[in-house]
Subunit: 318 residues, 2 copies
Amino acid sequence: MELQKEFIEKILNGDKRAVSRAITLIENNPADKSKLLKHLHAHTGNAYRIGITGPPGAGKSTLTDCLIKHLTEAGYKTGVIAVDPTSPFTGGALLGDRVRMSESGLLKDVFIRSMATRGSLGGLSKNVIDACNVLDAAGKDFILIETVGVGQSELDIAQTADTTVVVLVPESGDSIQAMKAGLMEIADIFALNKSDRAGADEIASGIKNMLHLKAATEHHWNIDVIKTIAARGTGVKELFTEILKHKSHLLKTGLFDRKRKDHLMREITETVNANLQKNFWDDNKIKLLNKSIESIYKKTTDPYTFSEELIKSISSLS
Amino acid sequence: MELQKEFIEKILNGDKRAVSRAITLIENNPADKSKLLKHLHAHTGNAYRIGITGPPGAGKSTLTDCLIKHLTEAGYKTGVIAVDPTSPFTGGALLGDRVRMSESGLLKDVFIRSMATRGSLGGLSKNVIDACNVLDAAGKDFILIETVGVGQSELDIAQTADTTVVVLVPESGDSIQAMKAGLMEIADIFALNKSDRAGADEIASGIKNMLHLKAATEHHWNIDVIKTIAARGTGVKELFTEILKHKSHLLKTGLFDRKRKDHLMREITETVNANLQKNFWDDNKIKLLNKSIESIYKKTTDPYTFSEELIKSISSLS
């Protein structure tokens, strides 16, 4: 595919259909995606990225929806990537929150896209970053990245943001589970959602106490707990104010540039690694692996010797 | 390190200290690990692997502990790999279940090892499989692999087992969350734990109804829901009987060999990919990346062009 100049221009102008096509291309067409992203790179770097994560049922989607509305009312253009553990088996039918959120997607300057975790093994994190880059080039001021924060890859995604908001609810054991799942480390801000429920204050001070255990680092940022009731829109303004406070902190301390350069390095490493693999696994090698699997399974040879020989055979051929 | 013959022999004899050292080597010493695993491969393939996964708080560790006791009483040698979202920040202090479980680790023929998800980005799944291979070579009859089943990588690990048990509890929304998280697809057996709680029967029949939606495949296995109360040891025998029934099904239909060959192919692919990356990213290339990141960040060049040129420069040099 020759990437039409027109297509690129539409993306840069924030045309919803073009942005949507671009993300589909990222998901399904690895060959063309780097061509596209080459053109867009010079136009990225302006959008501020907010990760929203937390255990299932914490109300992340509802809170994201509140933030979208708040940002829109304040005149900001907003993009949303919702990383969605939708399965091919259950379909999207269970995701009532998403349906609600997609109503916000009808607003002129809001773009919402779900990206599925299934079927994109390993590559999801890279695809999400690439999709954010598209939204960035498309002129969004803020990009919200929503993920279920329990698995390692989901946490990785949340961490590609400039500010990571961890959403919890005042339910017994919830904060402990969150710590087990590694959410404590990645939070820049806690949103204690459904904070009208019993025990909210105890949980909030519990989290704050826990945070005191965290070693103070250079350019220390004081992680705060913001109480929200997303279903009523309560606390959303305060949450956004805290996000902007964190942004100032990052800019003032130089952490902003450092974080973004780190992410860029990771992006490059992943791109290179993906290409190395793609170049290596040609039809011949896949055939050879298929042919050899029987003797490896029967233990005539072992997988490590086979792997080494496969790599060696290539270097000697080139 | 020259791998002493004695070390290998001790592993094959099931010596706990040697097995423990071998797994540490897998985690920390990629260079020597393939040497070790080459020696062990011929002795693997005998242990039956059971994945135990489910949302946080479902009682997976307690159920795993019950299974260890049941297997030990039945005269089986058991190995356990607990994939643990322990963080460097919170440490292991929160993991009370693990403490309880490790008492079982004192039994003569039981070996229990926690492997952390943090700090082993990308490589965790491979490390867990390699550790299982060590336990397999060490003469274990059964290997239990326990993971928190919410993230993609954790689900991947659970799926490397021969039989995957998904543990749920009768709590509102729990089964729906499980489906969102993709647990429905990977379950060979459901354990409905804490099944003395209200609503257990409703949830059990809810899951069964849901399973009817699943398309029948060739060699169809009828997924069942086993009610357990791990804290009292109730239902553990029935769960183990169901696991053995699933094992027979796999053997009878030829799925057993097919699954294991598929896993072996994935193992080889991952080993090759890891080596490709290791060979590629030498000091020079890491230096070049570090040097170039400034101009990529300033958009003088873009990450995709840079990646391509980095790969090209290598192929033309070789």
